[in-house]
Symmetry: C2
DNA sequence: TCTTGACTTCAAGTTGACTTTAAGGTGTAT
DNA sequence: ATACACCTTAAAGTCAACTTGAAGTCAAGA
């Protein structure tokens, strides 16, 4: 069986060793064992826990809430339902985040068109003063929103 | 013509007045004028600037970089090209963020299936010990990644 | 005119997630 | 046995983006 030090595991995950020590200190890594001399010993299975922590972090979840999830997982099968509920909630949150970023993307695409048009004409006053029906149909709603209806 | 105080504009944008004062202090709102008595007077056109700032913030851009963009905009038509470049770069960044969130979403969907299966069987050991070909095809790659190939 | 509520500035405090520093211990290779 | 790289903890420092507090000013209504 393969074991890792904090430095090796950090490298594998692409994070700083101090980050893993900080997570451990915050109670996110109760599964990590220690050697006789007090050195952290990461097992192969710990990698999967760290990947799950990383996944939850990417959803924007705070460390304190990830800790709650890990603590539930440590209690075993009696916490399956709340863990499922937490995952489902986070899944919905990510869907909402994607929707918001797609909205932001539409605004940026409008702005890109805006500056491309400005560049072609040498001035922003051309795209700025266009009437609604002069601009590409897909940007009309975006501009209305930017200007507050 | 319609004018707003900091409190009114903050309400319209759904942020705290202190946030707008902070942005002003950081140089993000050079376009905001003042009354005789020194009170900020927001014009209708300032709303659009604030919406653009809000859009860039949603892309994860830092205030100092948003400030650079605003400063370029204040210089007028000679900065059209760098502004276009900045918008295009940010657009690519948002696309990458969406792609990453979609990857995260797939992992969460796997975890949701995992805990649903655990719930049905009363134990996580059922989904955990499944062989690759026992799990739904769309989750195989996700599990391989979680476990580090 | 006076009250009231919202405005002003400046400075200091908060939050979350790390990172750094200092002082010292571990473990492996020669 | 002695380097040497890497490990340990505790405490302090950093950063971005606000938020709060104190002390005072402005403007509209009674």
């Amino acid at each position: 069986m393969m074991y890792y030090t904090v430095g090796e595991m950090a490298k594998r995950l692409g994070v700083a060793p101090s980050t893993l020590r900080y997570y451990d200190q915050e109670g996110l890594l109760p599964f990590v064992e220690r050697s006789e001399g007090g050195i952290r010993v990461f097992k192969e299975s710990d990698y999967e826990w760290l990947q799950v922590i990383s996944c939850l972090k990417k959803t924007g979840m705070q460390l304190r809430d990830i800790k709650t999830f890990i603590e539930m997982a440590m209690q075993g099968d009696q916490t399956i339902e709340p863990r499922l509920a937490l995952i489902t909630k986070q899944k919905e949150s990510v869907k909402a985040q994607i929707a918001e970023l797609e909205e932001t993307l539409r605004t940026l695409e409008f702005k890109e068109w805006y500056y491309n048009t400005a560049k072609e004409n040498g001035t922003t006053s051309v795209p700025r003063n266009m009437t609604l029906d002069e601009l590409p149909e897909e940007f009309r709603e975006v501009r209305l929103n930017l200007r507050g209806e």
